[in-house]
């Protein structure tokens, strides 16, 4: 039975992410709900599903997919061509002089200072990306060559293939037809020239002999194996890039395009799984473009979570902020202005506020645990800063992270894409099969930069990425007994080395909290305040919600309050709540998401909370 269901799910997903036009009842909203329950691991589904959820591909306008993909990939290759450049003669000379001289200050000149500043950024990225997902050998492996991408064709082939200069339509044979990018390794050449030596020895390996050893070889490399910067001569590598070098390029380009954010440690942890999922697509036509596609998915994610990476916004006080970060040179000025503006006002979107949201939610669903932690002076910063800022990537193995992200993306899709506009778009395109008909604001072209923007309904919800908060909350309540019994040190260790593996159960519990909706009170509670608002108040609020449900006032309220009441009742049982049969409370049954087509029509109506009028 479970197999049958799984088979149905796969077939359904294949349709939903397929190139064929969908029937009108297959709305984006329904798709989102299905993704909440997990996207099948089967061939190529998740890649496209994530692209849809993060607004990279228009859900309702499938005819436009090839054009959108191609356009965006071209934009990215343009960035690589413009921003990734090999060191100039002058820079090489300066580097060499600096390496010879013990005191770099002897070389004082503004150009050099700028160069040093830039290389400090590159060096920081370089140091981190090498260590991305170190448990996997994947990132230490070479990117398989493909004639479809100018980034992955081996350097010698590239020259031959360069005739596709007229980067027009894909009328040409399945060769890439993109401009060649001979300088794509320029960034790495600059690091090699700049650095006294290659700390990890990874770039001093013989060209093309990339192995899975990767960073483990550094034990020798550190001790002088890198031979005093001997790696410099090996560049550019003829055999192509390693996967971690691909994500290094993405992060560098992102930092250059978004100087208001730059590079912050941990971004590589967010980019890693995105890139991994795309680069392991069995279909070469997708896999070959993992790098450009990952860049855009990363940008879309960062537009949602960027505030977590901005130090100005760390403090709980600054203004509401809903601007999107867009990889467009045209927006650079506005972006940094916006950032400066934020610093002056009270903000509710930085990491500090997100952690407060978590504690507010905890106070609501489990006042006892909240109070207990508060007594022990366990600040959310001690554990949830990492949970939230890098989206649980450090707490779970990769397959689990990917599963959690299915739900997280399904949630934020409402902000990024906007369910309503997409439904409209879907309607448009089902009425008119014209490829451009359904553009309706979810993706457009920025004239100034000729750049495809990730835009849309950002900021339409009061509480963005609520599911991240819900999931973090579920992580806490799922170990409540251990937390209640343990002392400060045990608690921190438990939360930092999270013991539970059953992510489906956690997602299920998080879903319970999710249907409650976010904290409604306009009052701003900080961690210390919350203790004063005891369980009584929470119960009172729950009771109010219940009564409105009983009177059938509004479906949103009833779902939220019913979920809340249930959560209160369930608390303490510590039972995983993912697998529950429908029956008495079908509304928050996870199973509803897994029901195939037949149940979907009804499911739409009663399923998701509709928060916005």
């Amino acid at each position: 039975m479970a197999d049958l269901r799984a088979g149905d799910r796969i077939a359904m997903f294949e349709l939903l992410v397929g190139a064929k036009h969908l029937p009108p009842e297959d709305t984006f909203d329904r798709f989102r709900r299905l993704c909440f329950a997990g996207i099948p691991d089967t061939a190529g589904i998740r890649q496209r599903a994530w692209m849809l959820l993060l607004g990279h591909l228009p859900f309702g306008d499938r005819a436009r997919w090839p054009a959108v993909l191609r356009e965006r990939r071209e934009v990215y290759f343009g960035f690589v061509g413009d921003l990734i450049t090999p060191p100039t003669e002058e820079e090489l000379a300066l580097c060499a002089a600096q390496l010879r001289d013990e005191s770099p200050t002897a070389q004082r000149n503004p150009k050099w200072d700028r160069y040093v500043e830039e290389m400090t950024l590159v060096d920081q990225i370089d140091m981190d990306v090498r260590r991305t997902l170190p448990d996997l050998s994947f990132f230490q492996m070479p990117v398989p060559p493909s004639a479809l991408s100018p980034l992955t064709v081996p350097a010698d082939v590239e020259v031959v293939d360069a005739d596709g200069a007229g980067a027009g339509d894909t009328s040409a044979p399945p060769t890439h037809g993109f401009q060649p990018l001979p300088g794509r390794r320029g960034l790495f050449d600059r690091i090699v020239a700049f650095k006294r030596d290659d700390d990890f020895g990874a770039r001093s390996r013989a060209s093309g002999k990339a192995t899975a050893r990767g960073t483990t070889s550094s034990a020798n490399g550190d001790g002088g194996g890198s031979g005093g910067g001997g790696g410099a001569g090996d560049s550019p590598r003829r055999g192509g890039d390693l996967h971690w070098e691909a994500i290094e390029r993405i992060l560098y380009i992102f930092a250059k395009l978004n100087p208001g954010i730059g590079y912050v440690q941990g971004m590589n942890e967010i980019l890693g799984p995105l890139y991994y999922v795309l680069a392991t697509n069995p279909a070469e036509e997708w896999r070959a473009h993992a790098e450009p596609d990952a860049f855009f998915l990363f940008t879309a994610l960062m537009s949602e979570f960027r505030d977590h990476f901005i130090r100005h916004l760390d403090n709980v006080a600054s203004p509401r902020y809903s601007k999107l970060s867009v990889p467009s040179t045209a927006s650079l000025e506005s972006l940094s202005m916006a950032a400066a503006d934020d610093a002056e006002h009270a903000n509710e979107t930085g990491i500090g506020e997100s952690m407060n949201r978590l504690m507010r939610k905890l106070a609501r669903v489990d006042p006892e645990l909240h109070q207990n932690l508060n007594h022990k002076r366990i600040s959310p910063v001690f554990f949830s800063f990492r949970w939230i800022s890098v989206l649980f990537t450090q707490e779970f193995p990769l397959p689990d992270v990917i599963r959690i992200w299915d739900a997280v993306f399904a949630d934020i899709a409402e902000d990024i894409v906007g369910a309503e506009s997409l439904q409209a778009e879907h309607l448009d395109s089902s009425l008119a099969l014209d490829g451009r008909a359904g553009a309706s604001g979810t993706a457009g072209v920025d004239d100034a930069a000729g750049m495809v923007l990730v835009a849309g309904g950002g900021g339409r919800r009061e509480h963005k990425f609520e599911f991240v908060i819900d999931f973090a909350c579920a992580m806490m309540t799922s170990v409540r007994r251990e937390l209640l019994e343990g002392a400060f040190g045990d608690n921190i260790k438990l939360l930092q080395q999270y013991p539970l593996q059953d992510v489906d159960a956690l997602v299920g519990k998080a879903w319970e909290y999710h249907v409650m909706g976010p904290d409604q009170g306009p009052q701003r509670l900080d961690f210390g305040d919350m203790i004063k608002r005891s369980s009584m108040q929470a119960f009172r609020r729950a009771a109010m919600g219940m009564s409105s449900a009983a009177m059938g006032v509004s479906s949103a309220a009833s779902i939220a309050s019913a979920g809340f009441g249930q959560a209160l009742r369930d608390r303490g049982t510590q039972e995983p709540q993912a697998e529950r049969e429908g029956g008495p409370r079908p509304v928050f049954d996870l199973g509803m998401f897994t029901r195939p087509f037949a149940g979907a029509k009804g499911g739409r109506r009663r399923g998701m909370r509709r928060r916005r009028p």
Partner: protein, 208 residues
Amino acid sequence: MRGGRKALLKVIILGDSGVGKTSLMNQYVNNKFSTQYKATIGADFLTKEVLVEERSVTMQIWDTAGQERFQSLGVAFYRGADCCALVYDVNNVKSFENLDSWRDEFLLQANPRDPENFPFVVIGNKVDVEESKRQVTQKRAMAWCQQKGNIPYFETSAKEGINVEQAFFTIAKNSLKQEADVELYSDFPDPIKIDGDTSVAKSAGCEC
């Protein structure tokens, strides 16, 4: 009252990104070394039980993130610290030059009772790397430590486990001593309040 109580010491490890803070902590607590530690996000927490002068002590060690962006979190971690280890990489002069601002930032945010005598320890890590790459001499480092009020100085290799135990033992010992002093003070009925802002300059941490 004090003798029987089990001591709890809160230790903060600070320093630039990549100098080896995580490696030091893991070498000390778990006797392990890996080149695969990821960049620390926020702060990692480990504990270790040690015996100092016949007293059982639990060290709570906070290994903090080195990137400047994370410094705004400092106040959450620094408060109530009993000792602070300032770590730099002897092969990276910038990481040494930044010790000043790490120290200032710590004193500013932790706001200890007696900043002049707050127990710091300075650790120059990665001495296993070949001598020709070294950028900070022992002499220079010790001069800095002396100037800052005779901070104990250790040269370590987290990779090879050189001097790590000794450095942390000193941390434990000096923190205990500090704790004892503080308790002595608090025995007085009306303790003199020492303001934390003496000689503490705000570091240029703003990234506007």
